[in-house]
């Protein structure tokens, strides 16, 4: 064979049709391109072929005459295949007979009935007479796990579930046990399954061997209505099919190949569909009469709210009003709210949950690159040569983004470097890890930059082309490693080794989690990571980059709609007077000329009586913030408080007017995920009672106030938004090319202002080395099974994880003679709390973890909150707490 014939494409023939395909294409893929259907059980487009079920058998007539498995056979040039020749059909019939020999006649009660491949293929390829005979398995169905039931009688042993758990989810929770005719599938050693409950094993199972307890016997596929929508829990923004029977949600089904997760979901999206139907949902507007909230009509509530807000505005001007928004609202709502507050009520005191740290990722990225949102798409994360993950437990905080990183490990066998104070799942799977003292992220980051500069790891092109920028960074790093080793508890050599590993990769991707942006000097820490990306040549549009992870599902939407006093719609800073003028022109109004207050200052102004009225949407500050931030007292001091919510939250209980809002499943709108994809949510079910969509409520309130807002649909708002936030002009579900943006990113970085700001950036905060009489580090953070208060209204998720449990290191617990379920007392300078414990090796000795969504407020209240400086995003820092732990009897 000469080189000329070694082309990249080959010509093959399937059922007489000829097609050119790339080399390495498998028969099944070529057939799919031609629209030829080949039956498969164990094949899955995102996994390597496992060729266990043998149903995909096809007849190859050239170059040899043989039966082959379509799912696993790579095609050769000139190959001729027949997919439904008599010989193929004959073989398939035998296969079906063998599969059905042991299969129970469960179809009437089996939840797969109606969409079961075994049923379909029996009709298509099977025979009515089965020549084989054997005993049925008759294994009891294993229903011990909270969520997934295993019926091994129905299992056809295709192995897809095990493969998805091992290769995609990388949890390895299930397998086969026993052998031959009596093989069973489930958790190993006959244990009850207790895993991440992503449910992907159930999704890939071609039969009804794995079914969900939460949807058991509740649907038949032909009874269901289907709605493609966007998950409302985290910032990954997964797409799924929300199925309902008679207006009640029956289940959530992933859509293969669609959305950021390409068909993977995490437990929240997959099984957290009960909150919409929770009985505690608000159904009617409430108005305060004396010390009681009583039900009212919309007219009464709107008039009352308008009156209260207007009274405050009349007496104190726009600055006497404040607004606070959560990241669960749709873009349309946030946009209208911004317009209501700034344009109609003339107040700039509006803030959002971005304040908890997310804002730092936004402002630092904008300052350096002129852009908002992640620099890399999930596809680029999957293609990265090396990944550096700092201060995030992806598995818990952004599970599907985590799968993209896991994918580089499985498919590409690429290094994943992790820096964190917890031994996260990705850390265990990754190649190199630095376990640091909690809260010292900023110091390690500086160490990594220093190592890159000191060890000559700077990308050659960067060093020769941009010497000034490199020199500016180098100037900041003259100190010794001591200042890094002490607070982080790391050795210099380890930091250098990690820096080397990162610099060695071609496409290097950096991911920074909430413990970076919401940690000490969060803004600077993230800026240093941008420097690190720059130095290693990853700002040049090579597929690398640096990305801040956001937590709430529409946190990026908050940023793009300018939902913070220092931001404007479009992501530009408030201080940018041109951008401000543009907004004023678009809205045909004057924007107030005072800079608004961030949340913490708003709270103080409320207590001082300077802010008299507030409007809170989709978040519950009184519950979320530790008590030393005095949120309850602040909101209590207001003359008038309007709250718009799904549930009667703690904040809503203090309100003068409460508006019942519709959930994401009851209305139209869009969410923007952490990558910057804007995806639609659709109306899938009826809202309870008289609840209305957030944008409608805001619009009607504006009308009461004499404002100009008037729209008939979410789409109309989107058209209006497009002039200020062009990203939203069209929905972007595919997240197309972003290379152009990256070129601009580098130019913007080199523009000077950013580099000049360096002096302050590299100063490590003194608080890093602060001594404490309390020995343990407690971190209050996100957990896989929950997201905000929302998920606590899901009986399903609450059953898996009831959230009020402290996690501690197993070995340490043993040493302290604490057993699972025992109660311990945590004491901090602020107070004490008693909580039950569970063990996990995820937490390192000396550290403790508590989920931030817990209903037990005592632990959150242990925090001694400090507020970071305005440059660092005025973020309240309360998630790291020093505590002493003792067991109580």
């Amino acid at each position: 064979m000469n080189t000329a014939t070694q082309v990249d494409t080959i010509t093959v023939t399937i059922n007489g049709e000829t097609i050119e395909v790339p080399k390495g294409t498998r028969i099944i893929q070529a057939a799919q391109q031609l629209g030829v259907e080949i039956p498969t059980f164990c094949y899955h487009p995102r996994m390597l072929p496992n060729a266990a079920c043998r149903i995909c058998t096809v007849e190859v007539v050239k170059p040899m005459n043989k039966m082959f498995m379509a799912c696993s056979t790579e095609m050769m040039d000139g190959m001729e295949v027949l997919t439904d020749s008599p010989r193929t059909l004959d073989d398939r019939r035998t296969n079906m007979d063998l599969l059905l020999t042991q299969h129970p006649l469960d179809c009437p009660v089996c939840d797969k009935g109606g969409e079961c491949k075994l049923q379909d293929y029996s009709v298509k390829y099977g025979s009515s007479e089965n020549p084989f005979e054997t005993k049925r398995k008759d294994f009891p169905e294993d229903i011990r796990s909270t969520l997934l039931d295993f019926n091994s009688n129905r299992c056809i042993l295709c192995g897809a579930c095990i493969q998805v758990c091992t290769d995609i989810q990388k949890v390895d929770a299930i397998g086969f046990s026993k052998r031959g005719f009596i093989t069973v599938v489930g958790a190993p050693m006959g244990e009850a399954l207790d895993c991440e409950f992503c449910g992907q094993c159930m999704d890939v199972c071609p039969v009804g061997a794995i079914t969900s307890r939460y949807s058991k016997y509740k649907f038949r596929p032909w009874q269901e209505a289907s709605h493609q929508t966007t998950c409302t829990y985290c910032s990954c923004g997964c797409q799924y099919d929300l199925r309902s029977v008679d207006g009640e949600v029956s289940r959530v089904v992933p859509i293969e190949g669609v959305g950021p997760g390409e068909g993977s979901l995490c437990v929240k999206g997959h099984f957290g569909f009960h909150f919409m139907e929770d009985e505690e949902r608000l159904t009617k507007p409430l108005v305060r009469r004396g010390d009681k909230l009583v039900e009212a009509t919309w007219d009464e509530a709107l008039t009352e709210a308008a009156r209260g807000l207007m009274a405050a505005k009349t007496s104190g001007g726009g600055s006497a009003l404040a607004g606070y928004v959560g990241g669960r609202l749709a873009n349309e709502d946030i946009y209208l709210f911004s317009r209501l507050m700034r344009g109609v009520l003339e107040s700039t005191n509006l803030d959002s949950t971005l304040r908890m740290g997310g804002i730092n990722g936004v402002t630092a990225a904008y300052a350096a690159t002129g852009q908002v949102g992640m620099m890399n798409s999930f596809d680029e994360l999957r293609a990265a040569d090396v990944t550096l993950l700092v201060g995030s437990d992806l598995t818990e905080e952004a599970p599907i983004c985590g799968l993209a990183v896991k994918d580089t490990i499985t498919r590409g066998e690429k290094p994943v470097l992790t820096v964190d104070s917890m031994r996260t799942e990705i850390m265990r799977l990754g190649s190199q890890r630095l376990v640091i003292t909690p809260g010292s992220e900023v110091a390690v980051i500086k160490g990594l930059v220093k190592a890159v500069v000191d060890e000559g790891l700077i990308d050659e092109q960067v060093a020769t082309r941009y010497p000034e920028a490199v020199a500016a960074i180098r100037d900041q790093l003259s100190g010794t490693y001591k200042e890094i080793e002490t607070p982080t508890g790391l050795a210099k050599a380890d930091i250098i080794e990690m820096a080397k590993a990162f610099a060695a990769g071609d496409k290097g991707v950096i991911l920074a989690g909430p413990r970076v942006t919401g940690g000490l000097k969060g803004h600077s820490a993230f800026a240093m990571l941008i420097d690190l990306a720059f130095l290693t040549g990853n700002l040049s549009g090579n597929g690398g980059g640096v990305n801040a992870l956001t937590v709430e599902n529409n946190e990026l939407g908050l940023a793009l709609m300018g939902m913070a006093p220092e931001l404007l719609p479009g992501g530009a800073p408030w201080s940018d007077s041109d951008a401000r003028q543009q907004v004023a022109d678009a809205w045909q109004c004057e924007l107030p000329d005072f800079a608004g207050l961030p949340l913490v200052d708003q709270l103080e102004a409320m207590r001082e009586g300077k802010i008299k009225a507030a409007y809170v949407l989709g978040t519950d500050p009184i519950n979320a913030l530790p008590s030393d931030m005095k949120a309850a007292a602040s909101f209590g001091a207001l003359d008038f408080l309007v709250v718009q919510e799904l549930f009667l939250s703690e904040t809503a209980k203090c309100a003068n007017v409460v508006f019942p809002a519709q959930s994401y499943a009851e209305r139209e709108g869009t969410f923007t995920n952490m990558e910057g994809r804007t995806q639609a949510i659709v109306k899938a079910m009826k809202a309870p009672g008289k609840a209305r969509a957030d944008w409608q409520i805001i619009m009607e309130l504006s009308r009461e106030l004499g404002g100009p807002l008037s729209y008939t649909s979410a789409e109309e708002i989107r058209e209006d938004m497009a002039q200020l936030v062009p990203q939203f002009a069209t929905l972007d579900e595919t997240n197309a090319d972003r290379a152009g943006g990256r070129q601009a990113a580098l130019e913007s970085y080199l523009d000077g202002a950013y580099v000049a700001d360096m002096d302050y950036r590299y100063d490590l905060p003194a608080k890093l080395n602060e001594a404490s009489s309390h020995e343990m580090h407690l971190y209050v953070g996100d957990s896989l099974f929950h997201s905000g208060v929302l998920s606590t209204h899901n009986w399903g998720l609450m059953k898996i994880d009831s959230v009020d449990t402290l996690v501690m290191n197993s070995r340490e617990a043993r040493k302290l003679k604490i057993r699972e379920g025992d109660k311990v007392r945590l004491t901090s300078d602020q107070g004490s709390a008693v909580v039950p414990v569970k063990m996990d090796t995820r937490v390192q000795p000396g550290s403790l973890f508590f989920p931030k969504h817990a209903l037990n407020r005592d632990v959150t209240n242990l925090a001694g909150t400090t507020i970071s400086s305005a440059t660092e995003g005025s973020a309240p820092l309360y998630k790291f707490v020093r505590v002493t732990l003792e067991s109580v009897d």
Partner: protein, 205 residues
């Protein structure tokens, strides 16, 4: 010829002959509603749901009848029997008789012979809503006309050889997969809702 026929009124005679002959035959006019029709086995009358001999419900809530019905008049709401893991039943079952075309497809679709048509053909009522049969009503009909139901299934060859009309329906009972609840946890034994349980349920709602 024509004239002779006219003179002797042969046609009339022929007619009268038939009349006189009929006078001596037994009458076949049924004095309905004073006298009821005797309908054959397999007659497609009002639908009913059947129970097993022990009183437990046959229907496993598979919704196949709903899928088979050409006039979309069946609605099955299936669920797990509370307290009996894995046991499936129809929590609610509606059959809109006003739309039923009495084709019997549903009975043929049923894998557990839970549906059978009775010989009841008098369906008229003063309030149409009474013709929206619910589960309770359908089981009531099944109990009241059990013999009809059995005969129906036999006549329509839905007995797979085990059904014996003299001894009641053959135990074509659906066997639910056994449950593994781990060591020491008692495994529920009853299959389907018993009559008492059903009545308690109805009383509750």
């Amino acid at each position: 010829m024509g004239l002779m026929r006219d003179i002797f009124m042969t046609e009339l005679m022929g007619g009268m002959k038939l009349v006189f002959l009929q006078m001596f035959k037994p009458s076949c006019t049924l004095q309905y509603p004073h006298v009821k029709h005797n309908v054959p086995d397999g007659y497609r009358g009002l639908m009913s749901l059947l129970r097993y001999e022990d009183g437990s419900e046959r229907c496993v809530g598979c919704s196949l009848c709903e899928a088979a019905c050409p006039s979309n008049c069946i609605k099955v709401v299936s669920d797990e029997v509370p307290g009996q893991p894995l046991v499936r039943y129809a929590k609610e079952y509606y059959l809109d008789i006003t739309r039923c075309v009495f084709c019997g497809f549903c009975t043929e679709a049923c894998p557990v012979d839970a549906l059978a048509m009775t010989k009841v053909y008098e369906a008229s009522v003063y309030d149409r809503r009474e013709l929206m049969f619910d589960k309770h009503k359908l089981y009531e009909l099944g109990e009241a006309h059990l013999a009809d139901g059995k005969a129906y299934l036999l006549a329509h060859n839905m007995d797979d050889g085990t059904l014996n009309p003299t001894e009641g329906l053959g135990d074509n009972r659906y066997e639910f997969p056994p449950v593994d609840l781990g060591e020491g946890v008692p495994v529920p034994t009853t299959v389907g809702l018993t009559r008492e349980a059903l009545e308690a349920e109805v009383a509750k709602s």
